[in-house]
């Protein structure tokens, strides 16, 4: 099975924290899908994406099963990071090595077979579409900002790992262009799942999985019904970014900027 052929992952219901069965139709995640997982702290959002990350087979606290193309995936999918169809990127994920961006990506390429020669350049180029702070090929990975690091990791997962599914856990504060990430991953037929508290990211997603008390409470498909809200939230988000930038540049913010 080649990743570029596209795979569908299905999350089947398990149990909530009281041990009662969850009540939702199995959730299919196909190439190009965008989902967000929302709910209060402690509602089970992280447990949900952990289930996907380890391809749970009724062996995690939630009792959920995660299938690949309708079947339990081979061990290799879970155990070998080079074969794993899922990349998880969190606020905690770091590049520890003191290498330049090019050296870091080349190191990753060296563990892979059958990659195009320009994978490193392509990954840097893609990463630069996700962040406003330009990433230089000769910059040291350890000196990148949070936004640059997250952008580079998403691009690395897309171009070099060629991972069909990305799990992004609360990366909204990292200063990346959310809309750009969603649009480009969709175009490249990648599925992306956000764990998020950010209204803009939530509204950008095709589906919203609502968590409560350790269980999936509902799966919303807003369709076009939120398009007005999305547009307004997009404007507010832009405005917030602008104010953030002005504060960073040392300005006093007079009047009512919103």
């Amino acid at each position: 099975m080649r990743f570029s052929d596209g795979i569908t992952v299905t999350v089947c219901p398990g149990r909530n924290r009281d041990g009662r069965p969850e009540n939702f139709e199995p959730i299919d995640i196909a190439p190009g899908d965008t989902l967000s997982i929302v709910g209060p702290t402690g509602s089970g959002k992280t447990a949900f994406i952990n289930d996907i990350e380890v391809f749970a087979q009724g062996d995690t606290v939630t009792g959920r099963r995660v299938l690949v193309n309708g079947e339990a995936p081979p061990d290799e999918f879970v155990r070998n990071p080079a074969r794993k169809p899922v990349a998880m990127i969190t606020q905690n994920t770091k590049c520890l090595m003191d290498l330049t961006v090019t050296e870091f990506l080349s190191m990753h390429v060296s563990t892979r077979e059958n990659l195009l020669d320009n994978a490193v350049g392509e990954a840097i180029d893609l990463a630069n579409h996700f962040t406003g702070e330009g990433i230089d090929a000769d910059a040291r990975v350890s000196s990148l900002s949070g936004g640059q690091t997250r952008s580079l990791m998403i691009a690395d997962a897309v171009v070099i790992s060629d991972t069909p599914i990305l799990l992004l856990d609360e990366i909204e504060n990292a200063g990346i262009f959310k809309e750009e990430v969603v649009a480009r991953l969709k175009r490249r037929r990648k599925a992306v799942i956000f764990v998020t508290h950010d209204p803009y990211v939530s509204l950008l997603s095709d589906r919203r999985i609502v968590m409560r008390g350790g269980e999936v409470r509902s799966v919303l498909r807003p369709g076009g019904s939120e398009s007005e809200a999305l547009e307004r939230v997009r404007q507010i988000d832009c405005k917030m970014a602008e104010i953030r930038e002005r504060i960073r540049m040392g300005e006093i913010i007079g009047g009512v900027p919103l």
Partner: protein, 232 residues
Amino acid sequence: MVVAGPPSSGKTAVIKQMIRHLGERDRVAYLKIDVVAAFEDEEIRKEFGIPARKVYSGDMCPDHMGIMITEDAVSWAEREGASVLIIESAGLCLRCTPYLSGALGICVISSLAGTHAPLKMAPMITFSDVCVVTKTDLISQAEKEVFRESIRRVSKDMDIVETNAIQGTGLKYLYRILDSAPVCGDAGSLELRGTPPLGVCTVCVGKKKAGWRNHFGVIRRLEDDDNIFNGE
């Protein structure tokens, strides 16, 4: 079962998950070997209510200490009515391999140790049955893959289990190995899997002068940078 690995690699976090799993079926006893201070035994006794103790090696090499007391430890665990004994090494020496024939050998390495770490800890890895790589939630995908390659360079067919041991993710593969672990025979017949490093010189008996000219026995000069001692 012997759990080895450098300090702060997450041995105790892995062991706690092992106790949780094994505890459903077995009574587990736990022994920590350390040099001057250890608190893990108290932590584990408090959390699981199982027989747990520690032993300090003091002036002796902790792995040497472990080798000396293995038989006593097994008898202690038997007296406590335990069917599984987990021995946690101090994890100071990367050359000693405290693993025993007839007992499962588990090597725990932190992925934060850097991608060359497995090469530096080769003996500790090659003599083990399974290598548990911890804290993989904290590092990049690229480093995870290179780390794995690095272990494979040391030991081509090593069984590698990647985990965030605090959460216990991915440990089902370790549990499979635990569940099929061999029953250890007579404690008196246990043997080391590897030969410990040579350590027979005047430093070993307490002479403090630096420099090989001040010592006799198994000595080395800067030029003698070979892995095997060939005699004077």
